[in-house]
Structures are given as structure tokens and as C-alpha cells.
Symmetry: C2
Subunit: 444 residues, 2 copies
């Protein structure tokens, strides 16, 4: 080991479970800042061991063979390891190792959104009972410090609306489709080559990763754990270049957003992830590429927007290390992560679809025959839905025409019913495409 | 007093020095969240006393006469007061009262940027020696939690560049001038009526308030106190509607920005506040009205941008209360504000003008005679400055013509010399107007 240690200072040794991109980034930046930790913490903070799948793989970071192991539990159990970074991903093994660390009085820092989304309630309780810290800044929006801002900086606020871009991969794909007119499949191929897409592609493309993060934000803002099955989750696969162009004609951009709304009259909370048309003047609409952006609408502060890199080795390591520093302050008796619960669970309930209002964008592939638009409009009118704009793109010979509609205010229940009926309408060729029209002022 | 207190919980009583907009906002939101503090802090947090100039003035907040005093020191000295919020503004009295509170072991939370800019070094040392907290989140960018993000969330980062809009009043004026074509004087009149302009108008209009904040950010990022006399400070008074239009033609917007650059090869730090042309695609260029926005370029995290309301009762109270909560965690043994110093002072030195490179925008009022442009270009060429764009607006009869130039890369020293010479050039009618062309990628 080349790390120089000053023997007069207390040493806090960090064990890293999972030595992929983020694990190696955390190791590297802990080493590079070694001179800095004694100044702000009064202790040394030393990356000491890491668990890997293969001991023999070449790695660009400075680590010796005897610091590596394939046995994650041996790191957790090592009496010389004071803190654990769980950066291995996956749910079941990560959960067992996290609880095992807590049981030994060791604080844990994680970037694992799936784990927290599924088992956060149990894990936070276990951490509290064990009197240890559990940091998860890196689990939402990569390098953007949204967790700390939400639960510390904006502590006097309630949040009628939080929304934002929570998945960099899908935003990268949408941005390139929009700017270059490239097809979904083409950009997806590039994203795979760049290593941007998770092995389980549904996480990125079908909105699941963003939904994990939205559930975590909903918990921090409202103190309730919304079950993933209660979250509307739609991905980006049905967004076409035609939709992106139609959105532009409506002075909007289509983004995959997580949305957490709370109605303070009945304390119902709605959590959703779906593509939405966002007015071009909103910062979130112009947050492009792999960047994430979160807009917090606070009852005291008003609107605060944070943007930055939502994933990647360095931004995520930045968040992991900020949690490590907070946890070390706790171990060292200076500080600790704050208590979590913003309101007690019994106050909030998930919202039902008829409560969730908004405007919608519909694209229908229709046979180009007389009276088709009238039938569609009638079907919507039957559910009390009126149209705001209508445009029919010129169709090519022997292909269906594209009918693009936007509605006035209605609700999720009515539009879902109308959609089911539209699917069955003679002359409607394919499943209709439905996106939300996001109104940033609709809740305030 | 109508505030219900639960006698089984420890009570932390807050005294507020200065009961203006922010003081009353803090009082109100502490009261409104009274049910919440025991949940996250395990103690009650009670606004108890406030000092005012006039006891008899009508105030919209719920406060009894016996909680008010005209004697701020009596609040500081009151053994029943545990924490002090210094929200009175001004420098000398505020400093004395802050030190007086520290001497009695009381933590202080402030929104006073002028005080911290001028006496931060002494005050932070005094707080550390007294073992108390000194919170100042509200001193920079109102409700935007820039202080906490900079020193806690991004703790593993160094910052080659931080820039942003730090004064809402000047941004409000520029935005209305740009959007409506209204004159500076006209919008300034409105801003005065709306109560947006400080009694000392130089603070807002001449960049002094933004400079106070830039000095604080430079300290947090680099650990040095830059003297205000070493900061380039220019305000918005010379920005004309013509400049705003010319900037738009260059795909830019003119904003009054604070800029803190550090050159990591020689550890020189440059702090400046001045109008700058910012490319329209930057979030800061599109941060309008009374909003503030700060762009942090971190060595690990990359670019993080925060926007939000930069002043006003509620946003500022949101920041004051987040500090109060952090301080109470300290009093209660849970946590405290972090140590401050990011690097040791001897490492950093202020940059000299010849080190500060960039491109510039020049507007000259010139007599419309042959060879005028050639003379101007020659004068710039003598200093090694070449031109990127030139445009001459059609002049009205008997009025000078407007010559608008942008330069290629040069430095502050050369442009200052050229400017002095241009002023003396025959045919140049008025003092030339000089703005920076901000290049967000120039440092990374």
C-alpha cells in the first residue's frame, strides 16, 4: 500500500462491497483526498478492502491483491473494517450483507435504489435500532445532492410537487432522437456500446429505475413507502420521432419524468413515472443527455431546481463520499445522518386515478376514411374529455394516417377508459399512444 | 402565547435580532412547523423573543408585546434564550451582538452577507473557539441551499469554476429590460416600489451585494478570504437595451454574475462580479426575474446547477430554519455544522489581471467618420487583441454611431490597457462599455 498514514490519528477503514464502476470511483477519490479527511474530520478515512467477482481482472485503481476478496461477508465481518459501502447492486444478497453490517454496529453507505425502494422501511428501522448510519445519497440522481437538500436544507418545507428526470440513459436516448432525428433502435445500440444501459434493460427503458428513485423521493418528502405496484410506470419505448416533432410544435419537449404529487387537502400522494410533454421554458425540459434534473416545489422556499450528472463513476462517487463523511462524523461523535421520517405514515395515502388530473397527448394510427376524427372525438366526449388541439399528419399511400390530439383537463381514470374504447374503435389500427402534458403550475 | 408546548420535551428557545421581512418569516415558519420539530429533533424549537425598532408597529405574525424589545442585547443575554438569529443587517452592531452570543456559548444563525464577507474570518474563529455553531446558509442565494451543497454534499470536490446570479434585484431589472424593452430607470422605479431595492442602492445596482456573496463562496470552496478590494466589482447601470439586443444577436443573454475561478496549476483564485454575455443554452442565462442560480463545476461531480428564489421572506426563512435545525442537532448532541476550511489559506493567492483570460464585448459611441473602425481595431491590435465580430448600428442624425465589437481570447490586463487608450481616441464620444463574454467551458 502506498497510502501514507499518520499514526497519531484515529483511522476509519472503509470496506467496499462490489468493485465495479462506482466502487472503484469511490476507492480512487477516497485515496486522492486522503490529505483532506484529517482536516475536516480529525480522522483518517482509508479505503481498505473491496469484494470482487474475479480476483485476477486488471483494474485501473491502486489496490493490492491482498485487499481484494470474492467473499463480501468477510469484509462485513472484518473487525478492522469500520464502515461498509454496499455498491454491489441486486437486492437479496445486498440486503443480507447490509443487515449483517448493522448487526455488527457498522454504518453502511449505498447507491442501491432497488434495494431501498423494496426494503427501505425494514432497513431504515434496522439501522435506527442498531444505532448506525445508513446513507443513500447516491441512490437518486447520481451526483446531484437531492437527498440532503430534501431532508436537511428544505426541512421546513412540505412538497406539493416534486418532479424530474431520474434516469440518464433514457434521457440520453430521447435527447439524441430529438436532436438528430435518429431512431430509438439506433440510439439504443449506441447506448449499449457506451455501457449506458443496465444488463436488465427494463430498468432504463421501461421506467423501473426511475420508479425506484421516485419511491425514495416520495418517502423522504412525505414519510410513506409507496409500493412499486401502486406506481404508474411507463417507459420510453413508444416515443417516436413523430411524437418528438409534434411536441416541439406544441412548444414542449418529451422527457421521461418521475412525478410525486401530494394533495394537502386529503393527504393523498400520487407517484408516477411516464413520458410527458414539458413546456420548453422549464429547466427540466432542457435538461439533456445523461443529465438528471429535479424540480422541488416547496411550501416555504418555492421552486428549487437541481441539475447535474445522474450517473457514472465520478458523480456517483461524489455522493457516496459525502455520505461517508457524514457517517464518519457520527462515528466520531460529531454528527450523524438526520432522522428520516417527514410525516407519520398514517397521514398519507396513495391517490386514486380519478383524483389525478391533467391534460393528455394522444397519437392514433387510423385508416384515412371520412368521419374517423368525429368518431374519436365522440369517444372522448363520452368520458367528458374535450380536445385542445388536433393535427393529422399527411399519410403515405397504403399506410395509416397519424392523428395527434391533445385534451383539455381531465383525469387518469377517464382517459384510461377512453383509451380502452379507442383501441376497439373500427379504423384505429394500432394501440393508441398516450403521454401526459405536464403542467408545472398545475399544483401550486 | 398560543403556542402549545409539551412539557416533557426539552425546549430550545430562539431569539431573533431584527424583526423585518426575514425575521418575521422565520418566526412564522418556526411556529407553523411546531409539531414537526419534536419528531426530527426530539426537542421543541420555540421562537420566543424578537428585537424591533418600534414596539408599536402592526405586524402580521402572531407575537405578543412582551416578546418584543428594542434592546437586542437583552435577547442575547437572556438566560432563557438558547439560540440567536441575527437578521438585523448592518455590520458593526451585528458583529458585536454575534460575538456577545458566542461568548455566552450561544450558537448564531445569520443571513448577513456583508458581515460575513467583512468579518467572517474573525467570526468563524470566535465561533470555533467558543464551541458554538454559526450558520449562514441564508447569506448566499436566499432559498437555494448552496452553502450546504458546497461544503457537505460536494465535499470530495475541488472547484475550478463557480459562477452564478447572486442578486435577484439586478436580475429582475435586467430580465424586464430584456423581455419588455423597458428602460433601466423605468424598471428601477418599479423595483423600488415593490421593495426589491436595498436602501443603499449600490448594494444591488453596483454589484456589491453579489460581491459579498462571491467572497463567501470563494471561502467555502477554497478556504481563503479574498478582500473585497481585490474583487472586480461592476454593476448593471451601464447595460442598455441596445446591449441586451446585441447580446441576443450573439445568441447570448447579459446577466450580472459572480465568478470564482481557481487555477490549480498555481492555486491562484480570481473573484469577480460583473455583467457577462452568457450563451443562451446555459441554465444561468435563462434564470430570470428575482431568481438566483449557481453553477458549480466540481472536480469529481462535474457540473451541478441550482436555481431558486434568491431573496424574500419565505425562501430566506427556509434557509435560516435549516441552519437552526442543524445547530439544534449540535446543541442536542446529535450533530453540528461541519468544519469549514476547505484548504489552508497559504495555498491560494488572488489572481492578477494578466492571468484572467477571456473574450470581451465592447460598445463604443463614435462619430461616424471614415477610418474610425480602423483606428479602434488598431488600438486593440496594439495590445494583441483581435476581433471576433463587428457590428455598427445605423445611427440617427446628429447622434454618434454605435460600434459593437467582440474580441477573441485576451486577458483582463490587456483589455484594461486598450480601454484606457480607446477612451482617449479622437471620435470616441463616451466612455466605452465593456462586458465579459462568459465561456462556461473555458476552465474545465
Amino acid at each position: 500500500m502506498s497510502t501514507q498514514t499518520n499514526s497519531s490519528l484515529k483511522k476509519i477503514r472503509v470496506g467496499i462491497l462490489g468493485f465495479g464502476t462506482v466502487g472503484q470511483g469511490t476507492w480512487k477519490h477516497l485515496q486522492e483526498n486522503a490529505h483532506f479527511w484529517p482536516k475536516i474530520l480529525g480522522v483518517e478515512l482509508i479505503p481498505s478492502r473491496a469484494s470482487v467477482r474475479s480476483l485476477d481482472k486488471e483494474r485501473p485503481v491502486e489496490i493490492s491483491k491482498d485487499q481484494l476478496t470474492t467473499d463480501s461477508a468477510s469484509i462485513v465481518d472484518d473487525p478492522n473494517i469500520d464502515l461498509v459501502c454496499e455498491l454491489m447492486g441486486g437486492v437479496e444478497e445486498a440486503k443480507l450483507l447490509t443487515l449483517r453490517a448493522f448487526a455488527q454496529g457498522k454504518s453502511v453507505v449505498t447507491a442501491n435504489k432497488a434495494l431501498i425502494c423494496e426494503h427501505g422501511e425494514e432497513l431504515f428501522r434496522a439501522a435506527e435500532e442498531a444505532g448506525v448510519g445508513y446513507g443513500f445519497e447516491a441512490s437518486v440522481a447520481g451526483g446531484i445532492p437531492i437527498i440532503k437538500v430534501l431532508r436537511e436544507s428544505l426541512v421546513s418545507n412540505e412538497f406539493p410537487l416534486i418532479y424530474g428526470i431520474l434516469n440518464g440513459t433514457s434521457n440520453y436516448i430521447l435527447t439524441r432522437m430529438e436532436k438528430e432525428g435518429a431512431s430509438f433502435e439506433e440510439v439504443l445500440g449506441d447506448a449499449r456500446q457506451l455501457g449506458y444501459v443496465e444488463a436488465d434493460e427494463a430498468l432504463d427503458l421501461d421506467g423501473v429505475d426511475a420508479a425506484h428513485k421516485a419511491v425514495i423521493l416520495a418517502y423522504l418528502a412525505h414519510g410513506i413507502w409507496v409500493n412499486l405496484s401502486e406506481v404508474t410506470v411507463e417507459g420510453i419505448r413508444r416515443i417516436s420521432n413523430e411524437d418528438l416533432q409534434a411536441a416541439e410544435n406544441l412548444s414542449c419537449r418529451i422527457k421521461l419524468i418521475g412525478v410525486i404529487r401530494r394533495n394537502f387537502t386529503n393527504d393523498h400522494v400520487a407517484v408516477a413515472v411516464h413520458p410527458a410533454l414539458i413546456p420548453i421554458e422549464e429547466t427540466i425540459a432542457r435538461t439533456d443527455g445523461v443529465h438528471n434534473g429535479v424540480c422541488l416545489n416547496g411550501s416555504v422556499v418555492g421552486t428549487v431546481v437541481l441539475t447535474g450528472r445522474g450517473a457514472g463513476q465520478d458523480p456517483t462517487a461524489s455522493s457516496v463520499i459525502s455520505d461517508l463523511v457524514d457517517v464518519v462524523k457520527g462515528v466520531n461523535g460529531i454528527s450523524s445522518l438526520p432522522k428520516l421520517v417527514h410525516v407519520s405514515p398514517e397521514q398519507c395515502q396513495p391517490a386514486t386515478p380519478d383524483e389525478i388530473e391533467g391534460r393528455f397527448y394522444l397519437r392514433l394510427a387510423v385508416d384515412d376514411r371520412p368521419g374517423q376524427l368525429a368518431k374519436v372525438a365522440e369517444c372522448l366526449a363520452d368520458r367528458g374529455i374535450s380536445l385542445a388541439t388536433v393535427s393529422q399528419t399527411p399519410h403515405e399511400k397504403d399506410k395509416p394516417a397519424s392523428l395527434i390530439l391533445t385534451t383539455h383537463q381531465t383525469n387518469e381514470h377517464s382517459i384510461a377508459q377512453a383509451l380502452a374504447q379507442l383501441k376497439e374503435l373500427p379504423g384505429v389500427v394500432d394501440d393508441p399512444v398516450l403521454f401526459r402534458m405536464f403542467d408545472p403550475n398545475g399544483m401550486s
